[in-house]
Symmetry: C2
Subunit: 126 residues, 2 copies
């Protein structure tokens, strides 16, 4: 059984985790809503501003752990090796409309990133 929503979610995932942000963004709707740990972001530009630095600067590699989907929604879990955190697992639950992601509920552990930020700030002060 093929899930159309999962196909879109995976195409987006494989593109950004390969650091191909341009292709990744073609799967994002203009009026996308991203519910991330720090709050809700609205619109494709905000989505790009969120994903771009993570994919471009922090991400080393990502490994897919699980992927499920139905007609309209899909859910991914993956582990990401990043510069701030050796293991930064995340989960996304996306809603797809007309081949684009219109909503993403995004979960990850902010703590290692916050600790990295604090170390950077402390290092800058020295």
């Amino acid at each position: 059984m093929t899930s159309p929503a999962l196909q879109i979610a995976l195409a987006h995932h494989h593109a950004w985790t390969s650091k191909d942000l341009e292709t990744a963004m073609t799967y994002i709707a203009d009026d996308v809503v991203l519910e991330a740990p720090a709050g809700t972001l609205t619109g494709i530009q905000a989505y790009r501003d969120f994903l771009g630095p993570f994919a471009g600067q922090f991400l080393i590699r990502a490994d897919l752990i699980a992927a499920f989907g139905d007609e309209r929604t899909a859910m991914l879990m993956y582990d990401a090796e990043t510069i701030p955190a050796k293991s930064a697992p995340a989960a996304e639950y996306v809603t797809v409309r007309d081949g684009k992601i219109v909503h993403n509920r995004f979960i990850f552990d902010r703590l290692p990133f916050e600790e990295f930020r604090r170390r950077q700030t402390a290092a800058d002060r020295q």
Copy 2:
């Protein structure tokens, strides 16, 4: 299509989020492995020690966001209202064997809990 693994995952979820830890633990295998943000816990007692305080002391309510499963695995996403954090979403990817959860990859944002702990520590000092 019914997923046997999802049925077990949901039965476990509904029990612990109703604060019925005894019923919840009947769905956990003795040799369960829990991969949580802080590290890997092994065995049913460690699982109980992890889940018990969260369900008993911190949890106010949980709302299921998404649930998928196949024969052997299932994935849940839910939001939890807790005493430390108004919104503490989490995702679990479980593997089921003989009607019990043998593995759980568990993702949540530790940051609000860490901030709560810091506030508590600061308050204790005053």
